[in-house]
Amino acid sequence: MSDNTPSVTLHDMSLRDGMHSVRHQFTLQQMKELAAALDAAKVPLIEVTHGDGLSGGSVNYGFPRHADRDYLEAVVPIVKHAKVSVLLLPGIGTIEDLKMVEDLGVHTVRVATHCTEADVGEQHIRYAASRGFDTVGFLMMSHMVGPEKILQQAKLFVDYGANCVYMTDSAGHMLPEDVGEKIALLRAELPAGVEIGFHGHHNLAMGVANSVAAVRAGANRIDGSVAGFGAGAGNTPLEVFAAVADLYGFDLRGVDLDALMAAAEDVAVPIMSHFDALPRISREALILGYAGVYSSFLLHARRAERKHGVNAIEILKELGRRKTVGGQEDMIEDVALEMKRATQEVDA
């Protein structure tokens, strides 16, 4: 293998982003089965947390079947090869949550902020780095700003002690040229020792193409989920990316494609079917990508449609117009009620 063959660390999201699709209702057994299958496929890193990160359990985002701690205690001991990561969104979870996972064998802490608000993650990144975690800063909704802003915010994460920075396409809105341009700037300007990652969603069917563009521009960590198990139309389907990456000649550090396809088809798909949560580019998911709306709004918008009789598509479009950011799930019912009132006033 030549020196310029890109080496890529795959990071599976199905046990965290997939939580959105099953309304955070995984059983411990389902988590263990999927984790074991990913481990058998030699996936180096898997994420286990509530969909909205540690302490995400709430009316706003949904209460999970089990606590973060219970899921981690179930998964960490059964994986032999894979390391486990957790997600934390400052403003939702706190440093207490990081302290809670310290004795559970977690390897990686990812601190996620909106792409312009990296400084709210300072205390969490400093803490995680000081405790020796593989520490990642995660810039959500990266389609909303230009490359210079992404770089400025990424530098803050690095200053706080992150050894890896992610550009995150939470809305599945980005196109390969945009991904390539932003990642290339990060790679050119950040210290060589800092890793760069990309997290895609498949709302416009660009998850795989965007991830390839990211790697070619210098990213070396790629997020995806087996069978695309995740919010919106799903994450980048990991086994598809692995196959494409192999055709491109990327080094996936020993990931077993056959075993990964088995994890997707034989384990992830039956679980998703059980929850009626097979990812698909439905009209609503397409609108998420097209209008640039946070992917986990999908199921909440459908629920608001059922409760208040306002079209989910129209709700999502309005949320896009208002430039809502990740975590603003409470705006969905608010906007639905406002639209319902407007309709009633016209009728009256």
Binding site: T94, E117, D330, M331
Partner: protein
């Protein structure tokens, strides 16, 4: 009628906005502004408004407290220095309104528990957080009608209105607000979420309140909750005119949800910064209640 004379400790945005609010008050009079930087814009503004100023911190104020009859001080500095400021002011008999996250004194949301703090003779009250001032009146408005097992608030503020202090220690917001939802809001368990939105033009502060009742409310209880929410909205509006219930209360089994918007008064801070305005307005309200009690005792 003579007014109760006040000092602002901290000459930043909050101290300056407080000064303008106090100048409108019928019972309070701002007389001192305390800073630590002689070149501070806030001190210059205060001098222009006829206040006495010092850039030597609380030490610069202490020798003048008796002569200038300062009875109430607002501390808008930081949690680190608040304990020290409080100890010195207390020794001179000054009541302290704490706008820092220090929370040495009781957590205070004026329309809910200021009367109780006065009854207990508190000489230091803490103003919780901006999200707490906006939402806890509503948690209480629900829980005073029907007991709440759980209260959750989501505060969304414009990025531009979140200063470096808030950003550096965002956990403080999450923790203090959650604690106040329980202690002041009156529910068994509290959770607080804060979100920063960078949209331009900046968004107004908006807040969502969810209370999970112990039992699904019947029609009469739902009506009583709706009335209680309206009454509380009017009460908060007496000191924050731009406070409004946008939607709700929405009922869904045990869940009661209320959607709020807070437009600031634009005294010194921009209108979108309803989160900062509601802090200074609530602090002014608390001081006014202290002052009314002081004037009655005369």
């Amino acid at each position: 009628m003579s007014k109760i004379r006040c000092a602002m400790i901290g000459s930043g945005n909050i101290g300056t906005d407080l000064m303008y609010k106090l100048k409108r008050s019928g019972v309070l009079e701002p007389v001192w502004m305390v800073g630590i930087d002689p070149k501070s814009e806030g001190l210059a503004r205060a001098r222009k408004e006829g206040l006495k100023t010092t850039h030597e911190g609380v030490d610069g104020l202490l020798p003048h407290i008796e002569d200038d009859d300062v009875r109430i001080a607002f501390d808008a500095t930081s949690a680190y220095v608040h304990a020290d400021n409080y100890a010195r002011l207390k020794s001179k008999g000054v009541k302290v309104i704490d706008l820092t996250p220090a929370a040495i004194g009781p957590l205070c949301v004026p329309p809910v528990n200021m009367a109780e703090a006065l009854k207990r003779g508190a000489d230091n009250v803490n103003m919780v957080t901006c999200g707490g001032q906006a939402t806890i009146p509503m948690v209480h408005a629900v829980s005073r009608v029907s007991p709440g097992a759980y209260g959750e608030i989501v505060a969304t503020i414009a990025s531009r209105s979140a200063g470096p202090g808030t950003r550096k220690n965002i956990d403080e917001f999450t923790r203090t607000t959650a604690r106040a939802i329980e202690k002041v809001g009156g529910v068994e368990r509290g959770k607080a979420i804060i979100i920063l939105n960078p949209a331009e033009p900046p968004i107004l502060m908006r807040d969502t309140v969810h209370v999970l009742l112990k039992a699904a409310p019947d029609a009469a209880t739902r009506d009583a909750i709706a009335d209680s929410v309206r009454a509380m909205e009017r009460e908060v509006q007496t000191y924050v005119p731009g406070y409004r219930v946008k939607e709700g209360p929405v009922f869904d089994d045990r869940r009661v949800s209320i959607f709020l918007e807070v437009r600031g008064r634009g005294d010194y801070l921009p209108e979108y910064a309803g989160n900062l305005d509601i802090m200074t307005a609530a602090a002014t309200r608390a001081a006014q209640l202290f002052a009314e009690e002081m004037l009655e005792k005369v």
